[in-house]
C-alpha cells in the first residue's frame, strides 16, 4: 500500500509536469537567406546551336558575405510541349557562372529547354533558383526572308542581321520538294499552339497551286498545305495563310484565329486552349449562306474584330466568324458603309496607329480613295470603326507597282515604275520620294517598324534579269533621301518578310 502510494505520487508528479509553463527559447534565429536574380532578366533566350551560353547571375545573401558554403547546379530538361515529363534532366554545370557550349547532346535544334539555376547553402540546405527558357536556333533564326521565283522554281534567300546573304536556302534544304510559282511567304510574329506540331512561330510558303509549312527553326519542309486543313479544299490556290491576334498587349501577342484565303474563299482556324488539333476548316459562307464572293488577299484585325476581309464581288468588308462570314454592325459605319463600300480594293495595310488601317481603293470612274478604319474599340467608346474617306491626291497611284503603309507616320509609300512617292494621309498631299535607276521597276514594298532603332522601308525591284532589295532608313517624320543598303543578284522577288527568332 505504501509502495502504491509512492508510485501514484510519482505518476501524478509526472502528469503535473504537463501543467508546467514552458519557458523554452522560441525566438526565431535568422538563417542565411538566398536570393538569385539575373540583372539582364532574360527569361527567354534564343541561342544558336554551337554557340556558347554565358550567364552570370547575382546572388544575394542575408547573413553571409562570402560564397564558400554555396553549391551551384545548372540543370536542363526538354520543355517542348510535346515532350514527356519523363524526359531526362541533365546537369550541364556545377559552377557559379554558366559558360557552356550549346551542343547535341543534350540540346537539339529547334527544341525548347527549361534551364534551372539552383544555389544551395550547404550549411542550412536552403536554396534559391531562377529559370530560363531556351530555344535552340540556327543561323536562319532572324533576318529578312526573300521569296524568289527562279527558272527552276521558287527559292528562299535571307539577309542576316550582320548583312551577309544566304542564298538558295529552300532548294538546298528541301531538294525533293520543288516550289512552283511562288506567291507568298507568311511569317507569324508570335507563337501558335495548334497541336499539329510543337508550339512555335509559323512560316508558310504559298505557291500558285500548292503550299507548305516549314519548320520555323530548321526551314525544313514540315507539312503539305492540304494537311493543315481538316479536309483540303477542292481547288488548291492559296493567297494567304496567316494568324490574327486580339491581344491588346503588343508585347504578348497570342493567336486568336487563323485565316486562309484560298481560291478567293475564306477558311478559319479556331485556336484556343481546348484539346485536339486545330486545323483550317471548310470555306466560310456569306451571312446569306451563299459562296458568291471573292476575297482580296488582304486581312485586317484588331482587338474588337479579330479578322476582316474584303470581297471583290459585293465590294464590301466582312467580319470573319468561325462558321460563316458576318456583317459588321450597322453602328460600326458612319463615314462609309463597311458592309457596302462599293469600291475596288487596291491595297490594305496597317496604319501608323495600332489597329488602324489604310485602304486604297478606286471607284468606277478610276478615282482613287483612301478609306481609313480601326478594328479596336476602347471600352465606352462609340462602336464606329470608320475614320476617314478621302479622294486621294496621289498621282499615278492607280498604276502603282508596289505600296507600303508606314506604321510610324501618316504616310503611304507607293511606286510606279522606278519612282517612289510618299503620300500623306493627313494632308492629302504627295511628294516624290526617291527614283531608282532606269530599267528597274519596283515590285514590292514593305515597312518594318523597329521600336529600338530606325524603322526601315524595304523596296524590291526587278530589271528583267535580277532582283534587288533596297533598305531605306526612315526618319521620325517619314523622310529619307538615300538608301542604306542594297542587295542584288536575286531572282524575281515575289515577297519579303522579316523573321524574328
Amino acid at each position: 500500500m505504501k509502495f502504491s502510494g509512492t508510485i501514484l505520487s510519482i505518476l501524478l508528479a509526472a502528469l503535473l509536469t504537463g501543467c508546467y509553463k514552458d519557458k523554452g527559447n522560441y525566438d526565431y534565429k535568422p538563417i542565411n537567406r538566398l536570393a538569385v536574380s539575373d540583372p539582364a532578366n532574360p527569361v527567354n533566350i534564343s541561342i544558336t546551336l554551337g554557340d556558347s551560353l554565358k550567364i552570370t547571375p547575382v546572388i544575394e545573401q542575408s547573413a553571409s558575405q562570402h560564397e564558400d558554403s554555396l553549391s551551384y547546379e545548372w540543370m536542363v530538361f526538354d520543355n517542348s510541349p510535346a515532350s514527356s515529363y519523363t524526359m531526362p534532366r541533365t546537369v550541364i554545370s556545377t559552377d557559379r557562372n554558366l559558360a557552356v557550349e550549346i551542343k547535341d547532346p543534350p540540346f537539339s535544334l529547334g527544341q525548347n529547354y527549361r534551364l534551372t539555376y539552383r544555389v544551395t547553402d550547404r550549411n542550412t540546405g536552403v536554396s534559391s533558383a531562377i529559370y530560363y527558357n531556351l530555344t535552340i536556333i540556327n543561323k536562319y533564326a532572324t533576318g529578312w526572308i526573300l521569296l524568289e521565283s527562279k527558272p527552276a522554281g521558287g527559292d528562299l534567300s535571307m539577309i542576316l542581321p550582320d548583312g551577309s546573304v544566304e542564298r538558295g536556302i529552300y532548294t538546298s534544304l528541301n531538294p525533293s520538294y520543288p516550289l512552283e510559282n511562288p506567291v507568298k511567304v507568311e511569317l507569324s510574329p508570335f507563337q501558335v499552339t495548334d497541336d499539329v506540331s510543337v508550339t512555335s512561330r509559323k512560316i508558310y510558303l504559298l505557291g500558285a497551286g500548292s503550299g507548305m509549312e516549314l519548320d520555323y527553326q530548321t526551314m525544313l519542309r514540315k507539312f503539305d498545305y492540304a494537311y493543315l486543313f481538316y479536309g483540303a479544299p477542292a481547288v488548291i490556290k492559296p493567297l494567304r495563310m496567316t494568324w490574327m491576334s486580339t491581344s491588346a498587349n503588343a508585347n504578348s501577342l497570342f493567336a486568336s484565329q487563323g485565316i486562309v484565303i484560298n481560291d478567293g474563299k475564306v477558311h478559319a482556324n479556331l485556336v484556343g486552349g481546348f484539346p485536339g488539333s486545330k486545323k483550317w476548316g471548310a470555306a466560310l459562307s456569306t451571312p446569306e449562306g451563299h459562296y458568291n464572293y471573292e476575297a482580296t488577299p488582304f486581312v485586317a484585325g484588331g482587338t474588337t474584330y479579330s479578322a476582316v476581309i474584303y470581297d471583290k464581288v459585293k465590294k464590301r468588308f466582312y467580319q470573319v466568324g468561325n462558321t460563316a462570314l458576318t456583317n459588321l454592325p450597322i453602328a460600326a459605319s458612319t463615314l462609309f458603309d463597311m458592309n457596302d463600300v462599293g469600291l475596288d480594293m487596291l491595297y490594305l495595310d496597317s496604319a501608323n496607329i495600332t489597329r488602324e488601317y489604310n485602304a486604297v481603293m478606286k471607284d468606277a470612274s478610276n478615282v482613287p480613295w483612301l478609306l481609313r478604319f480601326k478594328l479596336a474599340i476602347a471600352n465606352n467608346d462609340p462602336p464606329n470603326v470608320t475614320l476617314q474617306k478621302t479622294q486621294m491626291n496621289a498621282p499615278g497611284i492607280l498604276n502603282m507597282t508596289g505600296m507600303a503603309s508606314s506604321t510610324i507616320t501618316p504616310h503611304i509609300y507607293y511606286a510606279t515604275g522606278n519612282t517612289m512617292y510618299r503620300y500623306e494621309t493627313t494632308s492629302n498631299t504627295t511628294v516624290q520620294q526617291y527614283t531608282f535607276p532606269a530599267g528597274e521597276t519596283v515590285t514590292q514594298m514593305k515597312f518594318l517598324r523597329q521600336p529600338e532603332g530606325a524603322s526601315l522601308l524595304a523596296a524590291v525591284t526587278w530589271d528583267g534579269t535580277q532582283g534587288r532589295l533596297y533598305f531605306f532608313e526612315v526618319s521620325s517624320v517619314g523622310n529619307f533621301s538615300e538608301y542604306r543598303n542594297r542587295y542584288e543578284g536575286f531572282g524575281r522577288i515575289v515577297d519579303i518578310g522579316f523573321k524574328v527568332p
Partner: protein, 242 residues
Amino acid sequence: MENNKLIIYAALFLAVLATACSKEERVMYQQDPRVYFTKFVTNSDSTMYTFATGPDDITVDTAWLNFRIMGDAVDHDREIKLTVLDTSTAVAGYHYAVQPLIIPANAFDARIPVLLYRRPGLKDSMVHVVFEISESADFKPGYSDKPNPFANKYDRLHYKVSINDQLLKPGNWDGSLSPSFGAYSMVKFKFMIDVTGKTVWTGAIFPGDMQYLIQSVKLALYNYEQANGPMYDENGEQVVFP
C-alpha cells in the same frame, strides 16, 4: 518485490509514451476486393448503339464495358460476374454476346467488349440490356452510388446498352447540336453523316472539330442546292442549317 513492481509500472508508463512514437501507416483499402463500372463523362451509365449510321454490310459491332476494382491488383486473372435485369429486352447470344469478364493479373481496370449483332427486328424496334454486377468468387459489388445524380440514371453497379438499326435522333441533339445544326430531321441527320463521315454524334466534340462539321455541312448543302434545288426532309420541311 517492490523493485519488480516499480520496473513493471515504469515499463508500462514508457510503453504508453512510446505509442506516440509509432509511425502512422498509410491508409489503404483493406477490405474485400470489389468491382464497379467506371463512370466516364460521356456514356457514363449507358450506351445507345445504332447500326444505321455505319455501312450496310456491317453485321457485328462492339460496345465496351469499363470496369475498375477496389483494392490492390493481384498476380492472377480474376473473374467478374454480371447478371441481367429482368426488364432487359435484348436476348443474350442473339442480340449481344459479352466477352470473357476478366480483370487481368496486375490490372486495376479492364475494358471488356460486348459484341452487338445486327438483327432484322432492329429496323423497327430498339432492344436494350441492363447489366448488373453480382458477387463472383473474386469480387463483391463495389460502389453503388451515382456520382452525378443529375446525369446518371444508373449507379456504378449497373450499365445499359441499347441496340437499334434506325437513324434515331441523338440524345444530345436538343442540348448540344441544335444550336449549330437547327431542328432535327432524319434526312438532315443522314446528310450530315454522309457529308462528314462522322457516325457518332453523342459525346464530346472539340470546338475546332465542331466548327469544321458546321462549315462542311453548310458548304455541302449549298452545293447540293445548286445542283438539285432545295432539300426536303421526311416532314416536308426544307433542310437548312442556321
